[in-house]
Amino acid sequence: MIRPDLNNLTNPDNLQMSQLSTAVPNTDFTETGSQLWLALYRLFQRDLRIALRRRSDAAAVLFFFVISSSLFPLGIGAEPQLLRAIAPGVLWVTALLSCMLSLGRLFAADNADGTLEQLLISPQPLVLIVLVKTIAHWVISGLPLVLIAPLIGLQFNMPAQELAILALSLLLGTPALSLVGSVGAALTLGVRGGGVLVALLVLPLYVPVLVFGAGAVTASASGMGADAGLSLLGATLLISTVFAPYAAAAALRISME
């Protein structure tokens, strides 16, 4: 740890400057730790605050999910058995596409105004910064899908137990989608036509999540129990939590060169 004596850097002959110099100095190790958590907390808070002030962005993702999944009953016709059979797959696919739709905003806005540069050269570990940004992104665009999915499921004549499994599987699955997607978003940062490229990169990686998620709901519908699918989803989430931020951080460094 390098801790040069920084106290003499502030100008003492200015009254307001000496008031400013009461900012917490980074002098000992425990303070460095709490600074890290404070910086990460502020980052999380900032992303949520920006999303709250630009509600249209998050709302667009939610409406895409609601409308695209509502098109299926309209197109296929109101046959309760058929709708019930396709519901898990349809809802999972539309949720997955909605997640992908929102990926573009994960780093692009920060890149456009130069704050991403500041994130990259901040003294906080980039892996944790990426993880916090991804969690905030999930809270903004993934969590609303989880909450509204049971309501959409009613359109498909899904019984209560299946609705619960659907919500639970999305709760485990959508964070994994955000994490895996963060790697694709970081890699395609600043690339022209990045949106299409993200789809090509990320959709194949989404396949396991889709298979386990939709599989869990279908299995519970046929009475086999959703445990296996949900366990696999949980495992996917754990693995992507551990590895995706490292890959995304490395990709960001390459994109920003």
């Binding site: 390098i2 400013l20 540069e117 050269i121 003294p123």
Partner: protein, 208 residues
């Protein structure tokens, strides 16, 4: 006192073209390094390399005798970099912007401290306005307000005087001078004629 920052035989290529090579300098506390060169001579590339944004393509950069690639985050904590883009979020107020960038840099400040710093750069009437409503020059002032709360010993400033009016330029010049007087180090590029008083001023020309 040993060298705080030392650059040895730095080299940079953009695609096939060699931008510069064999750029060496050493900075001590209180030194100002003025980077000169025509457009496209690699000034920004050099600054980005110095703050660790771009990979080093040749040579080495030492901070207190240690390689900055080994120090990583510890080195980042010692540097303030203000680039072409202001790094100011349109949806946040000026105070929120400054509080966030300081917390990120590891120097958490209170709202009052942020407001005091903003009034130092002449933005006291804009403290609770969203940055969206600010002009280009005012956004730059928000970014530069970090210099009034920072505790880092090295500032790397890419064209800090661009888009600033006379009054703001004078304020910034004063701040840089007082920082240098307190053993700070500044590396900057500028096309404006600005004479900053410093104990020692080094000039590095990239297109020489």
């Amino acid at each position: 006192m040993g060298n705080m920052l030392e650059a040895i035989n730095l080299q940079c290529t953009r695609g096939e073209r060699l931008l510069f090579k064999d750029v060496s300098f050493a900075l001590h506390g209180g030194d100002l390094l003025h980077l000169n060169g025509a457009n496209g001579s690699g000034k920004t590339s050099l600054l980005r390399t110095l703050c660790g944004l771009s990979r080093l393509q040749g040579g080495s950069i030492l901070w207190r005798g240690e390689n900055i690639q080994d120090l990583r985050e510890d080195y980042c904590a010692q540097v303030v970099y203000i680039g072409h883009q202001a790094g100011v979020k349109d949806d946040l107020t000026t105070t929120e912007n400054l509080c966030f960038s300081s917390a990120l840099a590891g120097v958490p400040i209170s709202q009052d401290q942020a407001n005091a710093a903003l009034s130092m750069v002449g933005l006291e009437d804009y403290v609770d306005r969203p940055a969206r409503a600010l002009s280009q020059g005012q956004k730059r002032r928000v970014a530069l307000a970090r210099l009034w709360v920072s505790r880092s010993p090295l500032w790397i400033l890419d064209e800090p005087f661009t888009a600033l009016d006379k009054k703001a330029s004078a304020l910034l010049k004063e701040r840089i001078e007082s920082f240098l007087a307190g053993i700070g180090m500044v590396i900057l590029t500028t096309h404006q004629e600005i004479d900053i008083n410093a104990r020692s001023i080094q000039h590095v020309r990239l297109d020489a």
